[in-house]
Every structure is written in C-alpha cells, then in structure tokens.
C-alpha cells in the first residue's frame, strides 16, 4: 500500500510480469439443476489488470463467490502465487489478500466515509471506547494516498454514486489486497468518472498485485487491460490480447455467435408531427429552463455527465418530482401532471434506471408486473381482476418481445437483467403509451441482450412511438437516437443530429459551464476521446 502514491507509470502495459499471481484450475461448481461453472480456468499475472467478460449467467458471480468462500468448489483448485488457496469465508479471503468490490455497494448510507471504510475494525481507546480522531485521520491518510476527492466526515448518503464507488474501493484497498476483483465497477459511472477510476486502478497495480476487472462496457477494456478472458456458460473460452482483437470479436466469443452491429436508427421524416413539447421546465433542486420537442416516431437521446439532470428531466416530466415552472404540451394540449399516475393516463411512461427498486415488483410474476400499469382500465370488469385476460396478454407480449421465461407466472427476480427490462417495457406497451422515457435502458444488461433491447426500441419507434433515451454510455446514445440533447448542470447546453454527432462534440457540450455562451460544436479543446467509435 505504501508505494501507491509514488506510482511508476500510468500505463498498464510493460509492467506485467509473466509469473502467475492468481490461478484458477479446473473449477467446477454445480447447484441443484445448474452447472454454474464447468472446468473454469483463469490466470492473473503479476502487475496486470485482466478483463473478465461473459454474458449474464456465464458464471462470473459464481466464480467470485467461490473466491470469497461463500461457496466451495466441487472440484478444482485456486492458487495464489503458486500456493494452494482455500478460502473459508469473506473475512478469510481478505486476510489471504483477496479484495472484492461487488457491483452492488455494501455501504451503510447513514455512516460517514471513515466509518464505512473501517467498519468492524474501528480504532479504539481503552479497549471499548471509539477513537473518532484516529478513525478520521487514518481514513484521511488512506484517501490522500489514493488521491481521492473524499471527505472522511461526510455521510455516504450525501455522496454521488461515483464517490460511493470510491469509498468501496478505498475500503477494499485499506485491507492491502494483492488481488482486487471488481465486478462492473463502472456500471453507474459516466465517462469522466470511468477515467478517474482507471487512473486509480493503475496506481494500485504494482509488480506484486493484480486486478480482475469484470465489465460489460467493452470500450473500457482495451484502455485498461492487456488481456481479456472470455467465459461462456460456465466454461472458459479463450484469453485474448486486447490489442490484437476487436470489440466485435470479443462479443462474438462471449455470445457464441456474430452480432449484427448495425441496428442504428432509420431517419425520422421531418414532416412528422411534434407530439410532445416541453418548455421552461425548472425544479428547485437542479433543472433550469429545460425546453425541447419530441416528434412522432422519434428517438431523442439525452446525454450528459452524471448529475447533469437527465434523470431529473424525466422525473419532473412524469410528475415524480415537483416542478417550479414549465409547461408540458402533448398533441397541442397543455397538461398538468402532478404525479406519475397522471402521466401514465396521458400515455407517458417512465422506465426508471433502477429497475429493481423503481421498475419492478421483483417478488411477483411476469404477468402481475405487466398488468400493473393498466390493471384498472384493461383487466377488470366491475372492479374484479380478470386473471385470464392478464395471462393471455402477458403470453402475447412474452412472445412478441422474445422474453425468455419458463412461464408468465415466473417470479421476475429469477429472470436475467435483459429479460427484466423487457418485462418493464411490456408493462408500458400494455398501457399503450405514446411517449416512453427510458432511463439507462441497458444498465447491467449483457452485450447480447443489449442488442436485443436496441432492436426493440428501434421497432417501437418504427411503430410510431416516441422515445426519450437517457444513457451514460455515449456510443449507445449516438447509435440509438435520431437527435441528441446534451445537458450540463441542469440545463440543455446543446442539440445535435445523432448521425452527425461525435463523442467529442457531445463531451464539449456536456462540460459547458452553465451561463457560458453556447459555443459551436467544434470543440477541439474538449476531453480527448478515450472510447473508440461505437460499432467499429
């Protein structure tokens, strides 16, 4: 840990040794009815960041659970630096030098940064009194060493998602791990935050340490990792050098087939009518005079950094958050929307970024979820629920959207992320909404399923639905949308036709300071493009 501040270089390449730091050999693990891992292999070299990719259900999380000792393998073994490794539990894993950062944070929101980092091993005075001063100063030391923009005394709840991620990382690194395993660390981060994270990882990498980096965002892998190990259906597929293979090739190995790269939008005829117009939308907290129009059959992308106010626009529009001013006009009629029920009645549906918390009843069935938004108007007679009508409509939608589920009664939590997202989409199709607002429609969804969601959204637009797509993944916005609005600090700072827009242009507008004059889209000075163009 002591060497982190005087790190050698920013480059991951060259430093990687050939010796193996962590190796997984022939590991098999079965659960009742499924073989989650089947002869899994993996080798992590000293000083390297190894990318691990695979579709959801490929066995990544099972592997992590074995490495933390939550489960034990049926056969096969782990070696750390050539020594056999037997992990008996998460605490034991830490003691052995294995640190894991899970995709879902394990933080206590009401405790401070320092309290979270040192939870379970708080410095004490006289054996039982908490030593707050030592706690905060040790946390500050750690934060300084990692060069993180954190205040140890702030409560975690008051931090942004990106900062919370940093707390998780600080917590993991405070244990001085040799191997750090990160599960989708960037799922909730924007591009600038991803760069910060990558710098942090590079500082952590030294000849005696290594990182296993699990991600769905293919563009990131090449910039951080030298090698990528692909797994599929619980089996090892191949390990490739990232400089010798294209993103498409990696994806093809993950899903076991070639994907159609081009699912971009067809042009919307400019004579299409304006369906929805929003003017001067403002909220107390953030939004300032947000104005835009949405045409029939159009996909309007919203880009911007985290906290720019994209989600807030959606929430204000559907009445989930109170607005201070602004008008919403649908088909020439002015609407007064004060809660999501109003919005839904007018045919405006909001598909939240947080599917599990805000989009689904995860403990309930596919059919129950699909019927929820239109139970009263479509599936009742005289107040009684018509279960058979719900079931048959659900079956139609399962077929139409190609939702993979054993039955329409299946509990939603047992479906994969992509299929869960389709259930949410189906819910709004049942409602026959004309305007659908997608907030991060592919977050946490694996690459193969992402393509299907893109195609589905495209089909919806073709059928004349108007979509708003909010996404932190720029390539996704540029590829999906007909038109892109860029936001910064609660305002719309730019509008681009998507087929002409480049990532640099978007980044230029996204980093504009509010109030500053809107410069033309030239933007040579803006952030360097780190991500290769989408679909190449």
């Amino acid at each position: 840990m002591d060497a982190t501040s005087q790190d050698t270089s920013d480059a991951p390449r060259g430093g990687a040794g050939e010796r193996t730091l962590l190796s997984v050999e022939g590991v098999t693990k079965s659960f009742p009815g499924v073989r989650a891992l089947d002869g899994m292999r993996l080798d992590l070299r000293h000083g390297e960041a190894l990318a691990l990719v695979g579709e959801n259900g490929a066995g990544k999380s099972t592997l992590m659970k074995l490495l933390t000792g939550i489960h034990t393998p049926d056969t096969g073994s782990f070696f750390l630096d050539g020594e056999p490794l037997h992990v008996t539990g998460p605490r034991h894993a830490r003691e052995q030098g294995i640190g894991i950062i899970h995709q879902e944070f394990n933080l206590m929101p009401d405790l401070t940064v320092a309290q979270n980092i040192f939870i379970g091993r708080e410095p004490r005075k006289a054996g039982f009194m908490l030593d707050h001063r030592a706690l905060n100063s040790r946390a500050q030391e750690l934060i300084d060493r990692l060069a993180l923009p954190l205040d140890p005394r702030r409560t975690v709840a008051s931090l942004t998602v990106a900062q919370q991620q940093m707390v998780e990382i600080a917590k993991a690194l405070s244990h001085d791990p040799r191997v750090l395993i990160m599960d989708e660390p960037t799922a909730a981060l924007n591009d600038a935050e991803v760069r910060t994270l990558h710098q942090l990882i590079r500082r952590f990498l030294r000849p005696e340490t290594g990182v296993v980096y699990i991600s769905h965002r293919m563009e990131e892998l090449t910039s951080l990792c030298d090698r990528v190990t692909v797994i599929r259906d619980g089996r090892y597929v191949e390990t490739l050098r990232t400089d010798q293979v294209s993103t498409q090739e990696v994806i093809a190995r993950m899903v076991g087939r070639e994907l159609d790269a081009k699912a971009g939008p067809q042009n919307v005829r400019q004579d299409r009518e304006t369906l929805l117009s929003v003017s001067g939308l403002s909220t107390k907290a953030l939004l300032d005079d947000v104005t835009f129009e949405l045409r029939e059959g159009e996909i309007l992308g919203f880009a911007g950094l985290m906290g720019a106010g994209r989600t807030e626009v959606a929430r204000a529009l559907v009445g989930a958050d109170p607005v201070t001013s602004g008008t919403v006009t649908l088909r020439g009629r002015r609407l007064r929307i004060t809660n999501p029920a109003h919005a839904a009645r007018h045919g405006i549906g909001y598909l939240s970024e947080d599917r599990k918390q805000l989009g689904l009843l995860v403990e309930d069935g596919v059919d129950t979820n699909m019927a929820l938004s239109s139970l009263k108007e479509r599936f009742t007679s005289f107040g009684f629920v018509r279960d058979r009508a719900i079931r048959s409509r659900a079956e139609e939608l399962v077929a139409a959207l190609r939702i993979r589920t054993p039955s329409v009664g299946q509990t939603v939590k047992n479906l994969s992320g992509g299929n869960q997202q389709k259930v949410v989409i189906a819910k709004w199709l049942v409602k026959e909404c004309d305007v659908l607002i997608f907030d991060e429609p592919t977050r946490g969804i694996d690459v193969g399923a992402k393509e299907e969601i893109y195609r589905l959204l495209n089909e919806l637009a073709q059928q004349g639905k108007s979509l708003i797509v909010i996404s932190s993944e720029l390539p996704e916005v540029l590829r999906m949308a007909h038109r892109v609005l860029v936001m910064a600090e609660g305002r719309v700072t730019g509008e681009l036709a998507a087929h002409e827009a480049t990532q640099e242009q978007v980044m230029h507008y996204a980093t504009l300071r509010p109030g500053a004059p809107t410069a033309p889209a030239a933007a040579h000075d803006s952030t360097r493009p780190r991500i290769p163009e989408a679909g190449k």
Partner: protein, 339 residues
C-alpha cells in the same frame, strides 16, 4: 400491439382461491396455509385428547364467538399490513366506535340501523384520518396510528364520561348474541364475521383494490411510477381497515350489552399477532385472508383450551407469545429453504 385477444383456454391455471397476486396462488402460498391450518389442527387434537369437553358443541361455538372481535380487527389489519403498514389504532378505535354506537342508540335514541351505520361510518372516518396522515402528511404508519391510538382511547373516555353506556334493546345485543339459525344457538356475530371474511378474501384476491394492496407492499415506489395513484389507494385501504374497526365496535358492544370505553387497549396487538401467525409478512407484499382467519382461530383456541385445562390466566400470554415466535420462525425457515 393490439388491445386484447380471447383468453387461451388451454393455459388455464386452477382458480387462485384466496391467494392474491402477492402469493400468486402458488404451491408455496398454499403450503403456508396448509402449515398454519396444520398447526391449528394439531393444537385442537392436543386439547381434545387432554379434555374431551373441548370438542363439545358449546365449547366450539364459544371459541368461534371469542374469535369474532380479534378476527374482525385482524381482517382489516391484513390489508394494512400487506401494504407494508401497521395499524395500532384498531383497539382503542374499536372502544371509541362502541362508545359512539352507545351515544347514537342509547343517548340519542336513534334507530338501531341508523346507529350501526353511523358507527361503521365513524370507524371508516378513523381509518380515513389515518390514511390522510400517512399518505398526505407522509407520517410513518407506526407513528400516525400510534397517535390515533392515543386520540381514540382518550376520546372514548371523554365522550362517555369514563362510564360504560348500556344498551337496553335486545334487538341490538342480538346482532352479536342472537341466533338467526333457528334452534341452533349459534351466535350471529360468528356468521357476520364469516361473511365479512369471505368479502375481504374476495376483495384481496380478486379486485383491483387487492392487487394494488399487494403491489404497494411489494414495491411502493415502482407501483407509483407504474402510474398507480398510491396515495389514493393507501387512503382507501386505511379507510377500509377503519370500517372493520367500526364493525368490531358494534360486535363487541352488542356482545357485552354495553360500550366499555376503557377496554380497547391491547386488541391491536392481538390482531397483529393473528395476522402474523397467519403468514402475512410485516414487511409487506405477502399475506392472505385465509391465513389471518386461521391465525385468529389459533389464538382463541389456545386461550380457550388453556382455560379448559385450567392453566392459570398469567401463563396463557406466556404460551401465546411463545407460539408467535415459533409460528413466525417456522414461516421464515420455510421461506429460506424455498429460496
């Protein structure tokens, strides 16, 4: 996307019975009720062997009669608890409703029908105020109904001058103690509760109200974002629970022949116990009316059986508390095994 097609006949699942959307009419849901029902049977068999008097017609009707008040309160509480809420005001609320019934019928001399309807409306009003405090002011259900528990308990004493109000007409007491079945000597109150339980069961499992009750308890925010007016439905649900409070007030005062203003406290916890023993989850989203009825029966069978065996009164609560722990633990263990 077309609106709807004819239901596919070959896909029929068996009728969902009394299970709502939350427990989905699934095997699991049924197993839970089977377990609760099984424990009820086991307890009954135990008492029957210990003392055959337990199974006499007179004793069984007295068990059922004793279930009425707790059972009625528990029916309303089931809705509230499935939404993830709690209602602490049902006990003293019931006492207040009994007093209101006494005031309307004895003091004001109104016809019994009017008095009873007035009491039911008053009960609904108690629930409506709870609903407003929770859904509009945003108070946590525990706090809002704790406050109502104190207010209702106080008002019951204020209005009655802390003295019981007696009912002179047997027509009123017949609501509970009379027997509409000729010659059977079977108390009407039991029939009323049974009828109300059926209505509540249908409402919970087959109506929009029931579906939204489960949906709110399952994930309130997702339900709101799906376009369901959650505030409105919460008010409706608490108002419905209030209606049950009013009914319990009528039933208990008709049974005693008087409104006892100081007696309500403690009933709320018994009602919650019945709901919980019946397998309804305090965290919301799961539960059933059948379970609650069984839960209420378990409580009164225990009370009765222990009396029959001459177990001292003090010990009865000790045993009831133990049963709650065992019942809820068994339920959790079963869910963990299923997960």
């Amino acid at each position: 996307m077309t609106a709807e097609t004819a239901p596919a006949p070959q896909q029929d699942r068996p009728a969902a019975g009394d299970q709502g959307a939350g427990s989905g009419g699934t095997l699991k849901g049924r197993l839970q009720q089977f377990l609760a029902f099984g424990s009820l049977v086991v307890i009954c068999v135990f008492f029957a062997i210990a003392d055959p008097i337990f199974l006499s017609y007179g004793n069984i009707t007295s068990i059922l009669f004793a279930t009425v008040v707790i059972g009625t309160l528990a029916l309303g509480a089931t809705f509230v608890i499935i939404t993830g809420g709690i209602d602490l005001s049902v006990g003293t609320g019931m006492a207040l409703c009994a007093v209101v019934s006494g005031v309307l019928i004895t003091n004001m001399g109104l016809p019994i029908v009017v008095g009873v309807l007035g009491t039911l409306v008053f009960g609904a009003l108690i629930g409506f105020v709870n609903g407003l405090n929770i859904a509009v002011l945003g108070l946590p259900p525990f706090i809002a109904t704790l406050a109502m528990m104190l207010v209702a308990g106080g008002l019951a004493l204020v209005i009655s001058g802390s003295a019981p109000i007696y009912f002179d007409s047997t027509a009123y007491t017949d609501i509970s103690t009379g027997s509409i079945i000729p010659g059977a000597d079977f108390p009407n109150a039991v029939l009323i509760m049974a009828a109300v339980a059926v209505v509540a069961g249908v409402a919970l499992s087959r109506t929009v109200l029931g579906r939204y009750t489960y949906a709110i308890g399952s994930n309130e925010e997702a339900t709101a974002l799906s376009g369901v007016n959650v505030r409105k439905w919460k008010i409706v649900i608490y108002t419905l629970a209030g209606l049950f409070i009013g009914l319990a007030g009528v039933l208990i005062s008709a049974r005693l022949g008087s409104a006892q203003p100081a007696t309500g406290m403690g009933y709320e916890l018994q009602a919650i116990a019945a709901v919980v023993i019946g397998g309804t989850s305090l965290s919301g989203g799961k539960g059933s009316i059948v379970g609650t009825v069984i839960g209420a029966l378990i409580i009164s069978v225990l009370n009765n059986g222990l009396q029959v065996l001459a177990v001292p009164q003090e010990w009865q609560n000790v045993i009831l508390g133990t049963v709650i722990v065992v019942a809820v633990y068994a339920d959790r263990a079963r869910k963990r095994a299923a997960a």
